[in-house]
């Protein structure tokens, strides 16, 4: 082998080694596997509604079966659903043997909170579900919501009020979860397309200064390529977080967001 070929071989080996370290191997397991229940708390948020223009009833047939099967696979402790009718929420709670279900009409279809393996006490709220969840010795205060899809000003007001509610009540852990409809392209990779989404940026940062965005950097949560669904957490370490793609069917346009918290 000549000197030139040896140099090439060396360069290819260096490229391969760097590539293996940088790109690594595909990640398997999360979020399909349930977390160890003893020291983790799993929260799922999912807008299970479908775009109305497609004329698909999300409560019907395969869609309902897929939603129920997905939640069953994930085995969450708390699950916040948006664009869900009360009837559908009751059906999910019944089929999955939830301990408690709270729902509120919002955005025409409703928001629901389901709980397992702990005690859930509703705390009222008209435009969102607000409850305190106790598991072991820790108390978690959660607001689940579906923020206004069209008006940034309305979103700002609704989310701001939800954060105020979370901050006022007593709790060890505070969680704001749901379809917040804030599209600020964080982690979206659209470096060139710098639309002026200044308004949502203001609202996002208002929340992010108070609570940690648990699933930041894990990719878009809604089609096409938007990050609209969030789990903001205060008072607990995030063990793992991500978006489970491939679970939406029909005209559904959101993916479930899964967050595992340290819970000791």
């Amino acid at each position: 082998m000549g000197r030139g070929a040896r140099i090439e071989l060396l360069l290819f080996v260096v490229a391969g080694a760097c590539g293996l370290y940088g790109f690594g191997l595909p990640r398997f397991g999360f979020p399909y596997e349930p977390p160890p229940k003893a020291d983790a708390l799993r929260i799922v948020t999912w807008n299970v509604g479908a775009a109305r223009d497609f004329g698909v009833d999300v409560d019907a047939g395969d869609v309902a079966a897929r939603v129920i099967a997905t939640i069953a696979d994930l085995q969450p402790d708390l699950c916040v659903l948006q664009e869900v009718s009360r009837d559908f929420a009751v059906r999910i709670a019944t089929e999955l043997d939830a301990d408690r279900m709270v729902s509120r009409p919002a955005r025409g279809r409703g928001v629901a909170l389901l709980s397992w393996s702990g005690r859930l006490d509703p705390e009222g709220g008209d435009e969102y579900v607000h409850a305190v969840y106790r598991k072991g010795r820790r108390r978690l205060r959660l607001v689940g919501m579906h923020a206004h899809p069209w008006s940034a000003t309305e979103r700002n007001e609704e989310i701001g009020r939800a954060v105020t509610v979370l901050e006022k009540g007593r709790a060890d852990v505070r969680v704001l979860a749901g379809d917040l409809n804030l599209d600020v392209d964080i982690g979206g990779g659209r470096d060139l397309f710098t639309e002026d989404e200044h308004l949502d940026v203001q609202t996002y940062n208002y929340v992010a200064e108070r609570l940690a965005d648990a699933a930041a950097g894990t990719g878009p949560t809604a089609e096409p390529d938007r990050r609209l669904d969030y789990v903001f957490v205060g008072g607990a370490q995030v063990r793992d977080a991500g978006v489970w793609k491939g679970r939406r069917v029909g005209a559904m346009d959101h993916h479930p967001v899964v967050v595992d918290l340290e819970w000791k």
């Binding site: 090439e8 989310i159 996002y204 990719g219």
Partner: protein
């Protein structure tokens, strides 16, 4: 060989064109920054629940944003042009054939050129960063660096770095951003080894870089993005976090190093095997 390449580069007009373009860019950025800070934080806050205030628009923020745009678009184009003209330029002028009549291997020719181009890239990146910091200091004024999540993805959560620490991070950003610039440079060397016209090589390198850059920003290619080098060129933003995620940062650096080395290896293979007519 290296001394010869340095001499050629110093006699070329391309570095000076790059510097002139960067100066014009910085002047425009300064104007834009001033108007933006004035209009967006001068009592025009629309929402009750907001983080907006005037204090985070300072010289360090100006540096971050100017350097970001420079690194994502301008510097890669200058370096792609530089690399594209190297081998193809000498092939076209006949200089390469004359050079190879001497007892010099093709490996040595290519690697000498690449080393000199790389050093030029590192100096260009460092000079651009230094001048941007100085303009920020004298025209805007320094302070703590505060970054918020937004459309430019500088950070995923609000960050605040004291001035001295932020300046230390900029020192680290210099080599990190320089590594990112080596990828379009090596890519253009690959094209330069393939083509015999410097105009074609440089323009193809710039065109393909822009195509990849756009593709890495289009939502349809979400699954392809992680494998495009253009998706990782702004990885140095990770150094502006209060707590740097070093494993993640090093993985991104390794992705870029893998791309640069692969392009260089392919360029070497092509250049070594081709016949000089």
């Amino acid at each position: 060989m290296i001394a010869l390449e340095v001499l050629k580069l110093s006699r070329s007009r391309r570095p000076w064109i790059a510097v002139l373009a960067l100066v014009v860019f910085l002047a425009l950025m300064l104007l834009g920054f001033w108007f933006y800070a004035d209009s967006r934080t001068g009592g025009e806050v629309e929402f009750r629940y907001t983080f907006e205030n005037r204090s985070y628009f300072n010289g360090l923020t100006f540096t971050v944003y100017s350097f970001y745009f420079g690194c994502m678009l301008l510097l890669p184009i200058f370096l792609a042009t530089e690399g594209g003209t190297q081998l193809a330029g000498e092939t076209s002028s006949g200089g390469l054939r004359m050079l190879l009549t001497r007892p010099v291997s093709k490996s040595r020719v290519l690697l000498s050129k690449f080393v000199v181009s790389s050093v030029y890239g590192v100096v260009l990146v460092g000079g651009f960063l230094g001048v941007t910091l100085l303009i920020g200091l004298f025209a805007v004024g320094w302070g703590d660096l505060r970054l918020y999540p937004g459309v430019l993805q500088m950070t995923a959560s609000p960050q605040r770095l004291p001035q001295a620490e932020a300046l230390g991070r900029f020192v680290l950003i210099w080599p990190a951003a320089s590594l990112a610039m080596l990828v379009p440079l090596a890519f253009s060397y690959l094209l330069s080894a393939w083509m015999r016209s410097p105009v074609n090589a440089a323009s193809t390198a710039v065109s393909l870089f822009l195509v990849l850059h756009v593709i890495s920003g289009v939502p349809f290619f979400e699954d392809l993005r992680p494998y495009l080098f253009t998706s990782h060129m702004g990885y140095w933003r990770g150094l502006l976090q209060e707590a740097v995620d070093w494993p993640g940062f090093l993985r991104d650096a390794a992705k870029l190093a893998a791309n640069a080395t692969l392009f260089l290896a392919l360029a070497h293979l092509r250049f070594r095997r081709r016949e000089e007519g």
